[in-house]
Structures are given as structure tokens and as C-alpha cells.
């Protein structure tokens, strides 16, 4: 937290600012990705970085995710503090061996001899009509791999704070940013800003039901909360911010207070993060629940590459409201 000057930045700018500030502070940092240098990223997500830090700190690679990820792990083990950008979250699939069998396990299996202080940055999110292999959200897999930390910010301030903390963390951290939030604006501290990993944030206080939402779904949950207000239901919106390690206490505390919970995610519901949260919250607040914990995620089919059809893959405020209303009755 900080009590310094704040101003409005977009999510995209906030992330870039975090990286730039860390790059100025720590010469061991480097950024590795495809088209991230002079091209400044296909979504302008590295704007200004190459111009300021040059070829040696912002490095363009061929289209070789496995290769560049492996290189990142090795660099991290050798004293550097690299950020590797995997352009689309769907391409997590291309780095699984290096991620799961190496990055996640090296510290543990070396008995602490090695650290892997790296960040993997990737874009997720349905809404750009990019199709089934460029729109997927697989952070639940990363959460299922012991040894990895997984974060997903929803606001510009959190985006900056989590990126800074991720870079400074001595473990592999996977940073998932929803491309649809790139232009969302919010108040962001100017100077050093850290958001502790593993700490949830109450984005809106309420007393009747807890809406636990991830990434962009936080904004959709907030809209739902407004609609519920009109129905006389006070909804609390909790943003876990970190998926692994999950702030179990923080989430359970909210549900102990409200007695009702709906978990919302943009990824597929089946075997996704909503299951973990629902299981955890019902374990910890079992005797205080007035209703079943309900879930809302994407349906279990690939994301169609169609503006009309992909809408069905994203939870809506109306769907959240309907879930809540079903608990009263």
C-alpha cells in the first residue's frame, strides 16, 4: 500500500509503468518475447520499453515459445530476473514441460539450492474474436502445479502492484492480464507500488452475498452488485487477485459474514478455478452458509471465432443476478 500521489492510468500503462520502474531499479531484469522490442507488442503492451532500455534488456525472439521459456528459466537460475511474455495464454500449452517439470520444481528439488525468480506474462480473455486457440484462460492449470504462483489483476492499480511484486518475488510467477481490460482506467500510485501476493481485496462491501470474481469478471460482478442493490440485496465483491496461493482466509471471512457466495470466472467452469474457491469456501464456512455456493464460468466448449457466438462464453451481470436470486426462494 502507499499514501503517495495517484493519477489515472489505463491497465496497459500501469503494467508498463511497473516494468519500467523495476527495470530502472534492478539491472538484472530483462524482457523476452515476440515482437516486444521496436514493435512494442501486438497490443502495444510494451510501449516505450525498448526505446528506453534497448536491445540488451528488451529482446525479440523467433516464434519459439518452448525455447524462449526454457531460456528464461535458465537465465533466472543464473542470476537474472527475467520476464518472459507468452503472447497468448493459450500458448501456455507450448511451454508446459519447461514450466511444470522445471520452473515449478527446481527450487524444491534442489533443496533450495536454486531459485527461479521469473515472471511469465500473458494475455487472456474472450472478446477480441480471436478464436479457440487465442482466447483461452488456463490459469487453473498453473494453480494445479505446486511451485508456481499465479496472479490475475482486475484494476490498473492492482495490475501495477502485482507486476512489481511478481518481479521482486524469487519464485516463478505467472501473470495473467485480460486484454479486454487494457483500456480500463483507474487511479494508480506514481511511485513504487506493491500488492502482496496471496492477498484478496474487497472491491465493494456488502452484507447479503459474496461475489468472488477473477480478473475482468470483477467488473462484471460489480455491475451485478449494482443491479442487486436495486433489488434490495447488498452484495460484497471480493477479488482474490492471486489465484495461487489463494487467500483462503480472506475469502472465507467474507462468506462467514454474508452466508452466501457465487464464484465467477472467465475460464471454463468445469475443473476451473471456481471449483477450488467453492470447495475451499464451503469447507471453511460450512456451518454459516445459508445457501449452496454457486458457480459461473465459461461453458465447456471451445471459444468460437465469431462475435455473435463468443458472447456466450462470457458470464454476464444478468446471469450473476439470476444465480443470486435463486438462493432466495
Amino acid at each position: 500500500m502507499s499514501t503517495q500521489a495517484e493519477r489515472e492510468l489505463s491497465t496497459r500503462q500501469a503494467i508498463i509503468e511497473a516494468i519500467a520502474q523495476e527495470f530502472r531499479r534492478d539491472p538484472a531484469t530483462v524482457y523476452i518475447g515476440e515482437d516486444v522490442g521496436p514493435a512494442e507488442g501486438v497490443f502495444k503492451q510494451t510501449e516505450g520499453l525498448h526505446a528506453e532500455f534497448g536491445d540488451n534488456r528488451v529482446i525479440d525472439t523467433p516464434i519459439s515459445e518452448a525455447g524462449m521459456f526454457g531460456m528464461t528459466v535458465g537465465a533466472a537460475m543464473s542470476g537474472m530476473r527475467p520476464i518472459v511474455e507468452i503472447m497468448f495464454g493459450d500458448f501456455l500449452t507450448l511451454v508446459m514441460d519447461q514450466l511444470v517439470n522445471h520452473a515449478a520444481k527446481i527450487h524444491y528439488l534442489s533443496g533450495g539450492g536454486f531459485r527461479v525468480p521469473m515472471v511469465m506474462r500473458t494475455g487472456i480473455g474472450v472478446g477480441g474474436v480471436l478464436g479457440s486457440t487465442h482466447s483461452q484462460t488456463f490459469y487453473s492449470w498453473a494453480a494445479n502445479v505446486p511451485g508456481l504462483k499465479v496472479v490475475a489483476p482486475s484494476t490498473p492499480a492492482d495490475a501495477k502492484g502485482l507486476m512489481t511484486s511478481a518481479i521482486r518475488d524469487d519464485n516463478p510467477v505467472l501473470y495473467f492480464e485480460d486484454r479486454m481490460t487494457y483500456n480500463y482506467k483507474g487511479s494508480v500510485p506514481e511511485g513504487e507500488h506493491l500488492v502482496e501476493l496471496g492477498r484478496a481485496d474487497v472491491k465493494r462491501e456488502g452484507t447479503d452475498v459474496t461475489l468472488i470474481a477473477f480478473s475482468r469478471m470483477v467488473h462484471i460482478a460489480l455491475k451485478a452488485a449494482e443491479k442487486l442493490e436495486a433489488e434490495g440485496i447488498s452484495a460484497e465483491v471480493v477479488d482474490p487477485r492471486t489465484i495461487a496461493p489463494l487467500d483462503k482466509e480472506g475469502l472465507i471471512d467474507s462468506v462467514l459474514k454474508t452466508g452466501r457466495a457465487v464464484v465467477i470466472d472467465g475460464g471454463h467452469e468445469l475443473y476451473g478455478v471456481t471449483g477450488e474457491v467453492a470447495a475451499t469456501v464451503s469447507e471453511g464456512a460450512f456451518d454459516y452458509l445459508d445457501a449452496p455456493v454457486l458457480r459461473l464460468g465459461a461453458p465447456h466448449n471451445p471459444v468460437p471465432c465469431s462475435k455473435t457466438l463468443e458472447k456466450f462464453m462470457v458470464p454476464t451481470p444478468e446471469q450473476i443476478v439470476a444465480k443470486v436470486m435463486s438462493m432466495y426462494g
Binding site: A66, D90, F91, T93, L94, M96, D97, V100, N101, H102, A104, K105, Y108, L109, G131, S132, T133, Q136, F138, S140, W141, A143, N144, V145, P146, G147, A244, P245, L246, G267, H268, L270, Y271, G272, V273, T274, G275, E276, A278, A279, T280, S282, E283, F286, L289, A291, P292, V293, L294, R295, H300, N301, P302, P304, C305
Partner: protein, 325 residues
């Protein structure tokens, strides 16, 4: 009824299909059956149908998967084996972004009748990086069906269905299952996907268990029975499609649920089952759902260090004690 080992029963189904389907192809090394390796009828098939078998491919899991998928798309259904699930990580883009999406994305034009087999689980002889049960991760990806069999009869019936179907199927087997003997009906038979099996009936609590842990759960149930607690052991057999109705029905009957599974806690198989039960049968639950699963820590090698991670009958009994009584 005749008996067979798990390994032999699986091979039976594979060999049977290789004989009856003259376009079926097979790719992979001898590791199909785990450390116990060789099986005579499989070797026969490899020799007899050499033109349909790629034996001992190079160490190129992503290409093995791609060739299997392309072969299946091209009309020659394929079974490819990867050895261990942790090797198969190299092939994930093929499973997820090629096999899983093809049918939907092509508007139904393409089918991918490919079966991928691999070993999962905590095993003392394996190198630490190899201990892994990643099926919950793949289950999150639309388009893949996932089989976790626990008995010789089940693996034969499920593999028969997998090899007759039109979808990509991942079959994960635990090495400890391979030498296990069990009754197997003679001749060909198929077990449909999405059909759980109650391995033991009981009224006091439900234990949902997967793969090798079904046997551990049965052990725990026997111990509990000595104290007058009758546990129902439910084996989902396929985790995609998952027989949600059977799980919910069982919990409605018993009111208590313990889940025993080998995938790590966070976002593992048990999380999904706990969540679905809380959603659909909350009013029937008399106590919180308990997950008996490995912690969120990488698995070391060696039986001593692994003991903390292993899902044992004692751990299941302890969990049951917490919620019964």
C-alpha cells in the same frame, strides 16, 4: 469368470481393435504398460501389423501427438502412448489446441478418433520430475475425454469404448494397477463413458475415489466397517464426461463425502467434485466435504519422502472420522 491383470486386459482391448480395424495405427514405445513392460500379444500385433505401427519413435512427444492426431483426422484412428504423463507435457498444444478444438471449430466436419495413454501418480521408483497426475488440468480443456480406470474389467471396457469412439481420449493409468488381477468378462464388451461405478455400497458416507485410489478407498472402507461405519465407494471411471448424477445421488443417500484423489489440491479433481456437490446437494450434506489429496508441494522421489504425499487408507479413515459422528 476368468481373471486377468490390468495390463493384460488393456492390451486385450487394444489388440482386439488392431485386428478388427485395418486402418488403426499405433505409435509409441514399450512403455505402454509401464515398468512391467512387455506383453506378448502386443508384440505380436507390432510385428503382424508393422506397416500400421510406429515403434519406438524418437523422443518427440509433440510430434508423436501430432502424428496421432493427423492420422486420426485422416481416417486412420490412432493409439499413441507417451510413457509418463510428465513426458506428455511437451505435447499439450497438440492435445488442447489441435485435438480438443477440431470437432467444434470445424462445425462438426472433423473428428479426431485418437487415444493417448500415459502413466500418472506418485511412484517411489520414479525420478521426481516424473511424479505427476495432471488430469484435472486436461479436464479443463473442452473436447478431450478422460479415463481413469481402476480394475481390469473397467480398463478393458473403457478402452474398447475409447477405440470405437470419435473423440480424442486421454487414458491415464497408475503403475500400481498394472499387475493387479481381477475378473474380466470374456469376449468384447464396452463400458460407456460418463457412467460411474459403485464399487461398494454403504449408507453412512460416500467416498469418491479415482484410479488406484479406488483400491485404497476400499481398504479404508473395510477398516471403517469394522467399526460399524458403512462407506459407499464410488468410482467415476471417466472424469470427462463426469457422472454428476451418480455422485449427487450417492451423497443424497449418505449425507457425507470424502474424495480421495492423486491430483494436487488446488484446482484438482477433488475441488470440482466438492464444488458440484455443494452446488447440487448442499441441503443433503451433514458435514463439510473432505478432500484427501496431495498437498500443494512438488513431490520428491523415494518412498520415505513420498510417504507424506501418498493417499493412504489411514488418511481416508481419519477424514471419515472427522465427519462421521
Amino acid at each position: 469368470m476368468p481373471t486377468s491383470t490390468f495390463a493384460a486386459a488393456m492390451v486385450d482391448a487394444v489388440v482386439s481393435r488392431m485386428h478388427s480395424d485395418r486402418t488403426m495405427t499405433l505409435i509409441g514405445s514399450a512403455y505402454l504398460l509401464g515398468p512391467t513392460n512387455e506383453h506378448p500379444s502386443l508384440n505380436e500385433v507390432r510385428e503382424k501389423y508393422a506397416d500400421r505401427v510406429i515403434d519406438e519413435p524418437p523422443i518427440s512427444e509433440s510430434a508423436v501427438a501430432a502424428v496421432a492426431i493427423g492420422s486420426a483426422m485422416g481416417g486412420a484412428r490412432c493409439l499413441a502412448h507417451f510413457g509418463l504423463a510428465s513426458f506428455a507435457f511437451e505435447a499439450w498444444s497438440q492435445f488442447v489446441n489441435e485435438a480438443g478444438v477440431a470437432h467444434h471449430q470445424s462445425g462438426g466436419q472433423i473428428t479426431v478418433p485418437a487415444v493417448f495413454t500415459m502413466m500418472h501418480g506418485i511412484s517411489p521408483i520414479e525420478h521426481s520430475q516424473h511424479n505427476r497426475s495432471p488430469y484435472a488440468m486436461l479436464a479443463n480443456c473442452p473436447g478431450l475425454q478422460i479415463v481413469l480406470a481402476s480394475t481390469p474389467a473397467d480398463i478393458k471396457g473403457l478402452m474398447t469404448t475409447a477405440l470405437a469412439g470419435d473423440n480424442p481420449v486421454v487414458v491415464m493409468n497408475h503403475p500400481a494397477l498394472m499387475p493387479m488381477e481381477g475378473e474380466v468378462p470374456d469376449g468384447e464388451f464396452a463400458i460407456p463413458f460418463g457412467s460411474a461405478d459403485i464399487k461398494r455400497e454403504g449408507d453412512d458416507l460416500t467416498i469418491v475415489a479415482t484410479s488406484h485410489k479406488v483400491h485404497v478407498a476400499l481398504e479404508a472402507a473395510a477398516q471403517l466397517a469394522e467399526r460399524g461405519i458403512e462407506a459407499e465407494v464410488l468410482d467415476p471411471r471417466t472424469i470427462v464426461p463426469l457422472d454428476r448424477e451418480a455422485i449427487v445421488a450417492s451423497v443424497r443417500k449418505t449425507g457425507r463425502l470424502v474424495i480421495a484423489d492423486e491430483s494436487p489440491r488446488t484446482c484438482g479433481f477433488a475441488a470440482e467434485v466438492a464444488a458440484l456437490v455443494v452446488e447440487s446437494a448442499f441441503d443433503a450434506l451433514k458435514a463439510p466435504v473432505v478432500r484427501v489429496v496431495p498437498p500443494d508441494i512438488p513431490i520428491p522421489r523415494g518412498s520415505i519422502a513420498q510417504s507424506v504425499f501418498r493417499i493412504t487408507a489411514q488418511k481416508i479413515v481419519d477424514a471419515a472420522d472427522v465427519i462421521v459422528g
